[in-house]
Symmetry: C2
Subunit: 476 residues, 2 copies
């Protein structure tokens, strides 16, 4: 028996934080590194990221976005060009020791606006060069000082960052939301995670943005996690980086820009939302292997079982099945291992199944056991995978909707936050009232739903006429 794989030793409902770390490590998604604050993404975890990349990349290529790659290092002077942006990021930046031939300090990118827009200013001349839509998949370093949490809070993470340039504000507004909607669709269809879309408050928006839109998801511990953001950057970066274009009227203009990103944090959300006491539960649409086949071998019927298993493996090729025919492990041990690793469907084939021309199928999400005829297996597996996918999504949606509660006062807000729910509350747009809320509840504003009632009432903090209903929760 392999000794380093063991089941999860705590319940999700009892010690959520420990449960999370155990699932990540025991399902071999990621590991701590000897470098403080950094993580190793192991093949099981990286395959999830590859699937995220593959599917989201396809979506943005359909929107005429093209991929590129910009330098890892950013000169200090670039940061200083956009002041708000620089101030927002400066505490988190990792600097290089200066080498002999460098005239200024270089930082590892915490995000790439500045280095990309310096190039954009050379490439963009005329309205014919617009819209320019570029994305990059890369690593990012932000020098976190809080405790490391695998996938959720690490000094390096992987992400994509899209950076587009437009002639007009209208176009920019429109596409900023198109990318947000792509994120929402992606989270729902692939990650089976229900998300809440809206606009960030002025206090919470991206450093240097005109406005920030985001999608937020509720985790089982009552904390929200920002799944992706899409920023309309206005014209400020264009002004700072001297991006100009000659318009259709032959006059010179500053273009409008947006940027939008999604990172490996989403893998953390995936684990938290779908996992259970047995370990990881992968939504089929994002699982590398959708099926694992375990032959139940008895000495006298071994050949027959194995040949039948191989036949079924071939038939199920399109689900990229794992055939676990290792003889040094017992079936029970294998069942636990593949449950821990979250494979959506387990198929067992023993001598009795062969006699009956059937297989035993176990759903990872519900533990339901089914007996399927071998001659209709592939068709039925397709259907069950779809059911698992929508079951997981529906659970995430129902859980979220069930846990959004309106707060009419600070007292109510406190109670809602303490009960690990998302509050929906009226707020004015002052920085001060957001601070009051943070101080009193430990929670912060997530985002402002796009659809607002006609009358938003009064700010629950200062009592003045409110600007909007906003979602408030503790968050990652």
């Amino acid at each position: 028996m392999k000794e380093n794989i063991k089941g999860i030793t705590v319940k999700k409902s009892e010690d959520f934080s420990e449960w999370y770390t155990q699932v990540i490590q025991k399902a071999e998604l990621a590991d701590y590194s000897d470098v403080k604050g950094f993580m190793v993404i192991r093949p099981n975890g990286y395959s999830i990221w590859e699937n995220i990349q593959k599917n989201f990349d396809k979506a943005i290529k359909n929107l005429n976005v093209r991929n590129a790659y910009f330098p890892l290092l950013i000169p200090e002077s670039f940061f200083k060009k956009e002041l708000e942006h620089a101030q927002g990021f400066s505490p988190e930046v990792a600097w290089l020791e200066r080498s002999n031939d460098e005239s200024e300090r270089l930082a590892i990118r915490p995000t790439s606006e500045t280095i990309m827009y310096d190039s954009y200013s050379k490439w963009i001349r005329s309205w014919r060069d617009l819209p320019l839509r570029i994305n990059q998949w890369c690593n990012i370093v932000r020098w976190e000082t809080k405790t490391t949490r695998l996938f959720l809070r690490t000094r390096e993470f992987l992400w994509q960052e899209g950076h587009c340039v437009y002639e007009t504000r209208d176009e920019c507004d429109k596409e900023t939301l198109i990318y947000l909607n792509e994120y929402k669709r992606f989270c729902e269809e692939f990650l089976a995670i229900y998300v809440l879309e809206g606009k960030k408050t002025e206090t919470e928006k991206f450093a240097g943005a005109y406005y920030t839109s985001s999608i937020e998801a509720l985790m089982p511990d009552g904390k929200a996690l920002q799944m992706a953001t899409s920023h309309n950057l206005g014209q400020e970066f264009a002004k700072s980086f001297k991006i100009r274009y000659i318009g259709r009227d032959e006059k010179e203009y500053h273009p409008w820009q947006n940027s939008w990103g999604l990172s490996t944090r989403t893998i953390g959300a995936l684990v938290m939302i779908h996992g259970d006491d047995k370990g990881l539960v992968l939504p089929p649409n994002i699982a590398e292997n959708k099926v694992v086949i375990v032959p139940i071998i008895f000495k006298d019927r071994k050949e027959k079982v194995l040949s039948s298993t191989k036949k079924i493996e071939k038939e199920l090729k399109k689900f990229n099945p794992i055939l676990d025919d290792r003889e040094s492990y017992s079936p029970g041990w294998k069942f636990s291992e593949w449950e821990l690793k979250g494979i959506p469907i387990r198929i067992e084939i023993g001598p009795k199944d062969i006699e009956k021309k059937q297989v035993t199928v176990i759903r990872r999400d519900t533990s339901e056991k089914l007996y399927l005829k071998q001659n209709e297996l592939s068709k039925k597996i397709s259907i069950i995978l779809k059911e698992i996918q929508s079951n997981l999504y529906n659970k995430s949606r129902d859980f979220t909707l069930r846990n959004i509660v309106e707060a009419k006062s600070l007292e109510e807000l406190k109670r809602i936050i303490n009960n690990k729910k998302i509050a929906l509350a009226s707020l004015c747009n002052s920085k001060k009232c957001e601070e009051v809320i943070k101080d009193k509840t430990g929670a912060k504003t997530l985002n402002i739903p796009f659809e607002q009632p006609e009358n938003q009432g009064n700010c629950i903090s200062c009592g003045k006429k409110s600007s909007y209903l906003v979602r408030i929760a503790k968050s990652y």
Copy 2:
């Protein structure tokens, strides 16, 4: 007219270096960055890298390699564990300013052996955990001090690095060569580049390796470029990083390891080998868009030409065609642009073509003009693309083979190198004789062909019995 795209102003045969830089920049493959020594890979260049990734990744996944991601930063102490390795890389390493909570200096990875093997030592326990085959696609920083050359010599580049662990030397030897052969097959089938495989001399092997194998390609200027390497690392790293496994006999062993890599440099080789005076020439198997369709529009027949063009675009979907129906550019201007950008096939459709139910097809590699019937277009395009691919490969192979000459003396060697060819010469395995050759010719050993004659003669430097016939050339 867009003013920033212009043709190449020098001939490849007259000023190779300037020609190269112009092709890279004007075909918008890459650009210099304001950060000294760094480059921006633009969408046209990155799409080549994406195709390299997609196809090579598929090949290694078929060999049961899985992808992962390890930290960007490496603690100084890790470097010191494998001395030879540390000495080889220390001049090129970029260090981070020390932050308050770091106990030691951190370097940006120049390669990932040390950071990966630290994790391997925690993950590997038993022979059941072997072979372990992990690859990562990532960015690498090596602080070059020589002049920056886009794709060829930059302080940051992208690559893949495979790192495998085996029970026995035999397995390790065998797979080290399997990866080398994968590189060779990939270069030949996709990049249409003929390569010379062999083993590096002791002087030229990778810092810390037991031995290094490589594939080398001859560039049109007579210099060789190392396209990929595959190292058998022996057991030294395992010893330094305390990687041990319990064998089938219950005893403890150090495993054998290899590592192997291919980088964005190969894009530079692609440009140099296939490009011509009009610009880039892309091998069809690596081109994002294999076809560009240019409608020849006259005012009175516009609608008819456009609708016919769109029909053809649909039919040729699988070649991912660009339809260039911009009206602010003339056909002639468009022809030049797409030639510059290296699209393998251009299709022109004008009123006369429509009358004759044909299209005009121009091959990028030979400039040959063909008239194809519309009803057999897709089939014929497939055939022509294959012809272009093999034509480019054959040219690369013939050029290389024509330029390998045997050198029987140092004088002959000098002449061969001056004539911009690869020499094949007998050499003993002393470091001193390799230095003599470097001093006298400016060239260095590339690699030792795997197939050697029975009698290798005497070393052309010292006259003693030679150890092998080895390839020698100036190199990038």
